[in-house]
């Protein structure tokens, strides 16, 4: 073998292996879409590549069993509430932690780090007791949002962003007599706007995909986010439907579409390696 061919072969192999892996990873998504468009479940190998007979019946079917629009609105309110809380209060906290010297700052930052390693399962039962039994917030948006209201990872990311801004900028604005809020609003925020988008996108997928907590606290069907109503359909109703998989897969496509769509549209913001190091480094 010539030196060039030894160098080229592993490279080619790497591509073959990576593409095979990528197709394996994507196949369930393709199959989800195909299955949601077939009137009869066809589980043969040929059935994965249908040439005709595609229909939207399954979407009509799932919509008649689960109020798709209502559930999507609930998911949207839940997710929107978390994003709003995170952006407003998270930015304030991140800014204070990065640029202001005040009593308790060190303690608070230690808590930011600590909270990230507390597993949610330990808090599950007491939060349920407090929020559902204590405050009577079962079947309410507030109860759904409360445990996620300020995303701690986002606070950490905001702090990193504000830390990276040059000190001179702040010194100059303070000499000009700008108050701290004004400094945040008109100096710091415009500079971190692209980073803000990244944090919003990362915050979005948490509540949109969250199942356990809204499942625990919503018993009324008209308050359930789509993840919960689809899960209830899978575990209770599916056995009695004519084409249960078709309807489940149609619901799954509706649930997956917004998150996957946002991800594809803004993939640069999700998959930049410096965010990876910023979040967990």
């Amino acid at each position: 073998m010539t030196p060039t061919s030894t160098a080229r072969w592993p490279g080619l192999l790497r591509y073959v292996a990576l593409f095979a892996g990528a197709l394996l990873f994507l196949f369930p998504f393709y199959y989800m879409l195909v299955g949601s468009l077939q009137s009869e479940p066809d589980t043969s190998v040929a059935g994965a590549f249908p040439t005709s007979g595609l229909t939207l019946d399954n979407y009509r079917d799932i919509n008649s069993r689960v109020d798709l629009l209502g559930s999507l609105v609930n998911s949207g309110i839940f997710t929107g509430g978390v994003i709003l809380g995170t952006v407003v209060f998270g930015v304030l906290a991140g800014y204070a932690l990065a640029r202001l010297r005040f009593r308790g700052r060190g303690t608070l930052f230690a808590l930011v780090l600590l909270v990230q390693v507390i597993p949610f399962q330990l808090l599950l039962i007491p939060l349920y007791v407090l929020i559902v039994r204590g405050y009577g917030l079962a079947d309410s948006y507030l109860g759904m949002i409360l445990p996620f209201a300020i995303n701690t990872t986002a606070v950490f990311v905001f702090r990193q962003f504000f830390l990276q801004l040059p000190d001179e900028l702040f010194a100059a604005a303070r000499i000009d007599g700008a108050g701290e809020l004004r400094l945040l609003w008109s100096v710091a925020l415009p500079l971190v706007r692209p980073a803000l988008l990244t944090a919003v996108l990362l915050t979005f997928i948490g509540p949109w995909n969250e199942f356990l907590w809204p499942f625990l606290i919503t018993k009324q069907a008209d308050m359930q986010p789509l993840a919960v109503s689809l899960a209830n359909y899978i575990s209770n109703v599916a056995a009695r439907a004519a084409n249960p998989y078709g309807a489940v897969l149609a619901g799954a496509c509706v649930l997956a579409a917004p998150a996957v769509g946002l991800f594809l549209a803004f993939q640069r913001h999700f998959i930049s390696t410096d965010i990876g190091s910023g979040v967990k480094g």
Binding site: P28, R103, P119, L122, P126, L127, A231, S235
Partner: protein, 317 residues
Amino acid sequence: MSTADTAAAPVTGAAARSPRPAGRGRVTAVLGRHPVGMVLAAPYAVFIAVVFAYPLGFAVWMSFHDYFFAAPGAAVDRPFVGLDNYRAVLADPAVRQSFGNIGIFLVINVPLTTVLALLLAVALNRVVHARTFLRVAFYVPYVTASVAVVGVWLFLFNSDGLVNSVLGPLAPDPSWLVNAGLAMPVIAVFVVWKQLGFFILLYLAALQNVPRELYESASVDGAGWWRRFRSVTVPAVRPATALVVILATITGANLFTEPYLLTGGGGPNGASASPVLVMYQRGIQQGQPDVAAAIGVLLVIGVLIISWVNRRLIERD
């Protein structure tokens, strides 16, 4: 600190003429240079106290008391019962089985996640063409709701699903999700697939910090691909490996959605029940929050021990 300031003020005599600077100095000493920071950070501090600190203490307190649901406002006695809840938990066969199950899950999931994430990250790091497509492909499952992808895995792995029709006579009987020996491994593989993109990203970030000269000098020394991987890459990303192992363990211990939906509530016969699923059944379905809180405390202690041992092992060799 503040007493020293007040004592010092009259000596300089400045306080007598203009009290403001001294007052301000005292405020700075007590509240810091930018007291407004306390106001800005207050909502987050309150949030931590209400949603993390208080429930954390409450969980531990509950696990040592006879706690039960009562009508709102009713004054009920909730006596201290020592370790009774823990004894009940440890004697409960379903709980013991669920801890065994999560052990099986972690033994399959964590090594598979770590090895695959590192290998794929190394390969992706050297890729020039189709870079975006490849990264997106591995990351998409991570951004998709578990509930949605569980739907398609149910379809793929049911007894006459695509996987079995590809395998033909090799298909396991009973089928994957209703087979006591296979249900938990399938869930473990599902979670590897679901989370891998995130861990690849952590490794990709770590790989950016490996000095190129190390690879170059290894190549000059005649090290092949495997030698370079073993003696340059693996040691260089060790901190990332520790993080991946710990995060994968914590995520795995949180397992709930997959056994609840994929195997119809931890079936067959509890062979895929996870501790969080049993917590939900005991605490909320059967109204024993004290027992459930004890399960949670034991689970977290278990996770802490595993994380600590892993960290020692990874950082030593």
